[in-house]
């Protein structure tokens, strides 16, 4: 390990580190624009100049590898003069429009100009003018401000895997853009806004909305997919204005998907802000007391077997605990959280988790994707797969749709036939998987939400066992969920009890008139027409499919409006905090159920969040408190006959990446994105 001295501090750094990294380890801050930890090194902004003893001139520390016995100075008159010179060059063509720039207040150039800028300009010449680029409905460009750091180009090429941005032209005429104008086709494009060190790329929906110092920041968990990305919710007064990623190396690094970032404007539209009840076929506003009374009136005298509950994809753990307890108190075992009908075996926790962990993808050396399109189902996780693929020697086999996943793979087949071929050893890819030390099998919901789902699950497990993916040291069986609520619901047993009905049973019961009351906790993704004549209680936050069908609507809180717990697809328990209050008379969901329980004569035992969480811990004992990741202790597979496979091709459950949940469906931004994807030519022509 090379040792070097930075400003008199001796540091030891790993070989191959750069001088900039060494300076950071010594606690010295080096200004930079183009350098970014997660991108390749470009070395073109020259802001990170430091002085190296015995070097004739200042060096760009980001691109300079360390060597033993270097002596580096980061704060000498030479260094300052050099950085001032660089800053002056950068500002030659940078417009002085900070007062109308959305980056103002959180701009690297602005901040560093305070440290290294002059108080006046020595240039009388005109600044250059660059045509703004049209990059789609999410990113607003102001290319005059661009300082050509190429972070966006490198992000698009390396992380997002859509090499669409480039630097065309040269010298003063160099421009960043797509050359042929079109919207970016990445699900991660919003991260370029965070990466841009100036105001060249800013958020289009957030344009001219707020200044960063007006915002209140709250830590939250993204509930638009099952990755559980860590987010920062920026709000002002009663409204969430934007969502940014928070650093979590184990989950989302520092990226979030466009859906997580931009469906914010759906939070203020189509909201359920007061209870409603159906009278004479029409919904009318009601009070909480009226709504509860209507439910109590319908529920009175009903046997538990005629009552059912379904939990939706964004529900928090607390509300599902309360609803589960309420249903148990009413004597009903008809509860289910799998609104897509996935045949998940919840008898053991590692049957339904992403056991290798997201960070563990980087340890894997082969992967088999079954019935999943991670690019659409978990965009951030997909970028981790791409990162591993870029590192090399990572053969990937795909059974399912042959979609563009941003990395290369071998397409083994469309449907279960390819899985059978792996089982009976006739597929050549089996040898590749067997040769791997840490192979992964990733099963998507598209492979399970079908009649032969249990067989697919068992077959996938068998393949994982056969290729040696299951050991005490490495657990290579992974399930990729699409719903933020799912793992938590499975952990607390939000599943049919006793001889209770599952999702299909509930729907069939409604159709046949065997189930009279259905409680939908934010469940919008079920075929509402199959609810028949049942009395539907919809508890949720958006006027989506469920609310349309409901007989009583109980307005709940969206994921940013409550203190909630979500478990991501790895089984990682994460808590988000309330950023804003739910609108109008809407309440936190567990509290609604608690209040309803009193009216229904089945009062729940807890009165505060701590009480619900204690109850959750009791229900999920051994699951919620289990560590994330770990090896496989028991090779015994899930129930299901791996040979009972059907023949239809696997299809990803996510057809429209941007509109998978009620918030996304209410968001005009997500609608614009979906329209761009559907007809890129038409939008580009506008």
């Amino acid at each position: 390990m090379p040792k070097l001295t930075v400003d008199g501090i001796e540091v030891e750094v790993p070989p191959g580190a750069t001088v900039l990294q060494a300076c950071e380890m010594a606690g010295k801050e080096i200004p930079r624009f183009c350098y970014h930890e997660r991108l390749s090194i470009a070395g073109n902004c020259r802001m990170c100049l430091v002085e190296l003893e015995k070097a004739p001139k200042p060096i760009a520390s980001c691109a300079y590898p360390v060597a033993d016995n270097m002596v580096v100075h980061t704060d000498t008159p030479t260094v300052r003069a050099a950085r001032r010179g660089v800053m002056e060059f950068l500002l030659i063509n940078h417009p002085l429009d900070c007062p109308i720039c959305d980056q103002g207040g959180e701009c690297d150039l602005q901040d560093q100009a305070m440290g290294y800028g002059f108080d006046h300009s020595r240039y009388a010449e005109n600044k250059r003018a660059v045509k703004d680029k049209e990059l789609g409905p999410l990113i607003k460009t102001s290319m005059n401000r661009c300082i050509h750091c190429t972070r966006c180009v490198r992000f698009a090429t390396e992380v997002a895997g859509v090499p669409e941005l480039g630097a065309t032209g040269r010298g003063e005429q160099m421009e960043i853009g797509t050359y042929v104008e079109h919207a970016l086709t990445s699900e991660l494009s919003g991260n370029m806004i965070d990466l841009c060190p100036v105001g060249a790329l800013t958020s289009k929906p957030y344009a001219f909305v707020a200044r960063p110092w007006e915002l209140v920041r709250t830590d939250g968990i993204d509930a638009t997919d099952a990755v559980g990305s860590n987010i920062r919710i920026d709000s002002r007064g009663p409204q969430v204005l934007r969502i940014l990623p928070r650093l979590n190396e184990a989950v989302n690094e520092e990226w979030i998907s466009d859906k997580a970032r931009f469906s914010v404007d759906g939070l203020t539209r189509r909201r359920l802000d007061r209870p409603w009840m159906r009278e004479g076929g029409k919904l009318r506003p009601a009070s909480w007391a009226e709504a509860f009374a209507a439910i109590a009136a319908r529920a009175s005298g009903l046997g538990g077997d005629r009552i059912a509950a379904l939990a939706g994809d964004m529900a928090d753990l607390e509300s599902m605990v309360a609803l589960r307890d309420l249903m148990a108190a009413l004597g009903s075992g008809n509860i289910d959280c799998r609104q897509d009908g996935a045949r998940i075996d919840a008898s053991r926790r590692d049957f339904y988790l992403f056991n290798s962990t997201i960070a563990g993808i980087e340890r894997a050396d082969a992967a088999l994707l079954i019935g999943t399109n991670p690019r659409r189902e978990a965009a951030v996780l997909n970028s981790r797969l791409r990162k591993r693929w870029l590192a090399g020697r990572f053969p990937i086999g795909v059974i399912g749709e042959a979609a563009d996943l941003t990395y290369g793979y071998e397409h083994l087949g469309d449907g279960p036939a390819a899985l059978t071929a792996l089982l009976d050893g006739s597929a050549a890819f089996l040898e590749t998987l067997k040769a791997a030390k840490h192979p992964m099998v990733i099963v998507g919901q598209g492979a399970l939400a079908r009649p032969d789902g249990a067989a697919v699950l068992a077959a996938a497990w068998t393949v994982a066992r056969e290729i040696g993916a299951l050991s005490e040291e490495w657990h290579g069986f992974n399930m990729l969920h699409t719903a933020a609520a799912r793992v938590g619901a499975l952990d607390i047993g939000f599943l049919p009890h006793g001889d209770g009905r599952g999702r299909d049973g509930i729907l069939a019961g409604c159709e046949q008139g065997d189930v009279d009351l259905v409680w939908l906790l934010g469940a919008d993704e079920i075929p509402m027409e199959r609810l028949g004549r049942a009395f539907v209680v919809y508890q949720g936050h958006h006027g989506d499919a469920g609310a349309k069908r409901a007989d009583v609507i109980l307005p709940g809180a969206a994921y940013v409006e409550k203190d909630g717990t979500w478990l991501n697809t790895e089984g990682r328990l994460q808590q988000g905090f309330r950023a804003v209050f739910p609108p109008g008379e809407a309440k936190e969901d567990w509290a609604i159920i608690r209040a309803a329980s009193a009216v229904l004569g089945a009062t729940l035992s807890y009165n505060d969040l701590a009480g619900v969480r204690a109850r959750a811990a009791a229900l999920g004992a051994g699951r919620l408190d289990a560590p994330v990741g770990g090896g496989c202790a028991d090779l015994g597979g899930p129930s299901g006959d791996p040979r009972a496979l059907a023949t239809d091709a696997f299809a990803s459950p996510v057809r429209d990446f941007y509109r998978t949940d009620p918030i996304g469906r209410a968001s005009p931004t997500m609608a614009a994105c979906a329209a761009t994807v559907a007809a890129p030519e038409a939008v580009a022509a506008e």
Partner: protein, 233 residues
């Protein structure tokens, strides 16, 4: 079209389809074979040049439409934007249509001092005084001022196609342009009849072959003479 569009922006227009001919494909394979397996992208500049020359053969105008860049990207397995970056960086790749004869006039200091203004004026006249970078109405000429072509000894210089016309003045330029317009191939090189970069009016030194001087080793150094006493001292 009057503005001089930035090379960083794409040209809207040009053929929708482009594919290498059999002959070009063979040349391209030779280019690609120069680089090791997995580094085929290194051949991008060679292939772009081949594409421009094929365009000249097919349409008479040596330029690089987007379809051609996409075709090259497809052959080399590169993202199209990576090819656009290369093509828009180098000024010798013309991403906009040029005339049958693209007149590139050097106006850097040595040529300018030797009268490139007259050459440029003649070229512009021949192109019907359309703005630089655009094609004359008859499609014959387009004019571009370029930086030093490295032929300062023979300034001023005009570069057309693969040839340099040197030692020009206004009239010589006009003669060359008329010949080009007639479809002739005026001889490249000095308009004043100079042999390459030799002095005007023939050599001034080394006029005749020096007389043959057979090799002869140096004569042995004379023995140092013994110091002699000076009688006068």
């Amino acid at each position: 079209m009057t503005d001089r569009a930035s090379p960083a922006a794409a040209y809207e227009g040009g053929p929708d389809n482009f594919a290498f001919s059999e002959a070009t494909r063979k040349l391209a394979e030779k280019q690609i074979a120069k680089y090791p397996e997995g580094k085929q992208a290194s051949a991008v500049k060679g292939l772009l040049d081949l594409a421009m020359r094929q365009m000249e053969d097919e349409t008479g105008s040596r330029w690089l439409p987007r379809a051609a860049m996409d075709h090259v990207a497809g052959i080399l397995g590169m993202a199209p934007i990576r090819v656009y970056e290369v093509a828009s960086f180098y000024t010798m790749f013309k991403t906009r249509p040029v005339g049958r004869h693209h007149l590139q006039v050097c106006t850097t200091t040595p040529c300018w001092l030797r009268g490139s203004d007259a050459v440029l004026a003649a070229c512009r006249r021949a192109a019907g005084n359309v703005p630089d970078g655009t094609v004359s109405e008859d499609g014959e000429f387009s004019v571009e001022e370029v930086e030093c072509l490295g032929a300062c000894v023979n300034a001023p210089v005009l570069w057309v196609g693969d040839y340099f016309y040197e030692d020009l003045d206004g009239q010589a330029t006009e003669r060359i342009l008329e010949a080009l317009k007639r479809g002739e191939h005026p001889a490249p090189g000095s308009a004043k009849g100079r042999q390459t970069s030799a002095p005007e009016g023939g050599p001034t030194t080394l006029k005749e072959v020096p007389p043959h001087q057979p090799y002869r080793p140096d004569p042995p150094a004379p023995e140092p003479a013994a110091p002699q006493a000076d009688a006068g001292e």
